[in-house]
């Protein structure tokens, strides 16, 4: 620790930081909180993952083998809620906590106490959510989209789910406010907006999206709650409401939400590819503008999730073309990543492998998205396994791979040790094979007509389902390696230098590895 000498009385070091659990409960340090978020996300990744494996186990063969249909539906619903709100989002917030202050040269997040609050709400929220599995009527089973009137048949679980979602929303909003304020107010002198690393940029825009849409989700679920318990009729035609109205409000949140889960991934990949291609990012400004346009467009495409509910034709056309438009800035990004590698001196360490897999496989998900955006085609694809294949391609080899890439990329900075490269590569190859074996056949299942969210299926779908289930178990089990590698790296390994990689750009590589508890107490000067 080189900066201890500069501490003043009102900003003392960890000598009076409580030890053990107390330290983690009361911490206001962005690195501690980042670690908490990441570990929590990892735990939820396994909880949600186990549910996915139950789903795939049941779908290995046609007929009902292991679970009854009610429980199956609870698994699909809970799996999605946990993966979205418990795994992917908190993992990104964890990375934001760790990296944003390091990348912009700030001493910490702008509002450190609120940062702690944002995190510690989450374990309680997920306790509420998971407890519903043990209630009369079981957990929620109407799908993560919570459509009425179906969701209103939920048993005792309904208010727990809704209030848990409120807690997650409060946590996300506070987290997002912290990110924006940190970026807008805490940058080191000379760190102008257009010098910020892309991870910071994408998170800034993600945070705007979060603050704009999490309250809308809160509104939607509040209306569900009052419809259920206080006699309002927002979603009942008899009283002049409309169940479709829920879908509009939900997807006004829901579509930006999917970008909330992909923009930070874009940021991570934009950090990693230049490092391992040993070239600066191609078209930095274009990347920033593309991110901003994607965020803007994400507010005017929501009804592409509802093409089949009976919308006026003008609405369908508008939402179709607006959705297709998103492919343009997305294409700009894919092009720029590729151009960054053009004639680069590339090496393929684990972070780069994950980033490359992201590039290829996310693009497949983007293309299937484009297919889904075509209204007449969507009539066929909607609510089929094709949709399941689409969003898993963008979310698993998309968001989740980017998170893993980021973890491998920055783990040496966090722990001071290099991870085991051989194990990392094995983990990568198992994951990438597992993911494709799981999700690629689902495209065919969907095109052939297999509906989503169903515990049984016609026998002609058997082969592809078996492949998919085998892939899922390969993918799921190989994630145990990920945990092993992480904890092995925490406990030891080759010493990492400050730079870790070969001349990477970014302020985070100017501090020692492991990054000291307090960094940038004195703001660095950015040229």
């Amino acid at each position: 620790m080189s900066d201890t000498a500069t501490h003043t009385a009102d900003h003392d070091d960890h000598h009076d930081t409580p030890k053990g659990i107390m330290r983690w409960l009361t911490t206001t340090n962005h690195k501690d909180i980042g670690t908490l978020y990441l570990l929590f996300a990892l735990l939820m990744f396994f909880v949600g993952g186990s549910m996915a494996l139950i789903i795939r186990l049941e779908l290995f063969q046609p007929g009902l083998q292991y679970v009854n249909p009610e429980f199956f539906n609870q698994m699909t619903t809970m799996h999605a809620l946990i993966m979205i709100f418990g795994a992917v989002m908190p993992a990104f917030v964890g990375l934001a906590n760790w990296m944003i202050p390091l990348q912009i040269g700030a001493p910490d997040m702008a509002l450190p106490r609120m940062n702690n609050f944002s995190f510690w709400i989450l374990p309680f929220a997920f306790t509420l959510l998971l407890s519903t599995l043990f209630m009369p009527g079981g957990g929620p089973a109407g799908g993560w989209t919570l459509y009425p009137p179906l969701v209103q048949q939920t048993g005792d679980a309904l208010p727990f789910v809704i209030l848990a979602i409120h807690l997650m929303g409060i946590s996300s909003i506070m987290g997002a406010i912290n990110v924006i304020v940190t970026i807008m107010n805490m940058r080191a002198p000379g760190m102008t907006l257009l010098k910020m690393p892309l991870f910071v940029w994408t998170w800034l825009i993600t945070a705007y999206l979060l603050i704009a849409v999490m309250p809308v989700l809160a509104g939607a679920v509040t209306m569900l709650l009052t419809d259920q318990f206080f006699g309002t009729t927002f979603f009942h035609a008899a009283g002049g409401g409309d169940p479709v109205m829920f879908q509009h409000i939900f997807w006004f949140f829901g579509h930006p939400e999917v970008y909330i889960m992909i923009l930070p991934a874009f940021g991570i990949v934009s950090e990693i590819i230049p490092t391992f291609a040993r070239k600066p990012l191609f078209g930095y400004d274009a990347m920033v503008y593309a991110t901003a346009s994607i965020a803007f467009l994400s507010f005017i495409v929501w009804a592409h999730h509802m093409f089949t509910v009976g919308m006026p034709l003008a609405g369908q056309l508008f939402f179709m073309f607006a959705t297709m438009l998103i492919a343009v800035p997305t294409g700009v990004k894919v092009f720029n990543w590729t151009a960054t590698m053009w004639r680069g001196a590339m090496t393929f360490e684990t972070p780069m492998l994950f980033a490359l897999a992201f590039l290829f496989l996310f693009t497949i998900g983007g293309f299937s998205g484009l297919m889904l955006s075509i209204v007449p085609a969507d009539y066929q694809y909607h609510d089929s396994y094709f949709v399941v294949a689409h969003f898993h391609y963008v979310l698993v080899p998309g968001s989740v791979f980017a998170i893993m890439a980021g973890v491998y990329y920055w783990l040496p900075k966090w722990t001071g040790h290099m991870y085991d490269e051989t194990l990392g590569k094995i983990h990568f190859w198992l994951s990438v094979i597992g993911v494709n074996v799981t999700f690629f056949p689902q495209h065919f299942l969907g095109l052939a007509g297999m509906p989503r969210r169903i515990p049984d299926y016609a026998t002609q779908f058997t082969n592809f389902n078996m492949m998919s289930s085998i892939g899922a178990f390969i993918f799921g089990l190989s994630q145990l390696m990920f945990v092993y590698i992480i904890f092995k790296t925490i406990r030891g390994g080759a010493k990492a230098s400050a730079e870790v990689w070969e001349s990477p750009t970014g302020l985070e590589w100017t501090v020692p590895s492991p990054a000291p508890h307090h960094t940038f107490d004195e703001a660095p000067q950015v040229k």
Partner: protein, 287 residues
Amino acid sequence: MAHATGKYYVPHGSWWPIIGSVGLFALMLGSANALNGSGGTWPALLGLAIVLFMFYGWFAEVVRESVAGYYSAQVDRSFRQGMIWFIFSEVMFFAAFFGALFYARALSVPWLGGEGVGFFTNLLLWEGFEPTWPTDGPAGVGGDFTAIGPWGLPAINTAILLTSGVTLTIAHHALRDNHRGILIGFLAATWLLGLIFVGLQAYEYVELYQDYNLRLDTGIYGSTFFMLTGFHGFHVTLGAIMLIVVWLRCLRGHFTPKQHFAFEATAWYWHFVDVVWLGLYVFVYWF
């Protein structure tokens, strides 16, 4: 961004957030059980009490730190920006309910009445339903009711809130010119007006329930009316409490003409509830 002189104040180890999380957990758990008809309301109330205790303790700590001079201009900016984004999130929360109102009025009710794509819905399910507004839907959920017009109490309430915005601005100018007497007087007037507003709103609710048969479960009109005005009234109450706290701090001599973040944040919040009210007045009461 230019770095202010002195270090950015990073507080260390705080118990308040975890107390708040436990409180919120108890509040949510208690409420969910109460809604399911088990466990009574006291666990939720206990949770609420813990949350209130957290707010009190947390803010008291921040006030102490502020008075002790720990906060640089940069910290002050963080607070300001944080408050602005918090208010934006509140705007979006209200937007969801306004969205529901507009959707019902412009789309779902006309469709139920047979307009456009709703032709067969109307013919087969709700023949004879006239899509007017206000409405409690084709099934007349909640029975016949009378809506409340924009004149009378709502107009008075509008005047009260607008006046409170003026008194607040006068108080703010007084604070900047260091006229403590005017500051305290007009700030007191502001929160008094706020409380009168809430009182009149409560009176209106009683009247609506008793004499107009307009209730929360009066179809889509009752739903949107009470959820919008109810959440708004709740926010006015919060704003008034914030004003009272700021007022008490003024009495104790807090704030300087240059540095008074809590005052300004509260003022922004108050203007925000004011603007929401104007939206309500126009779209809920008037048209």
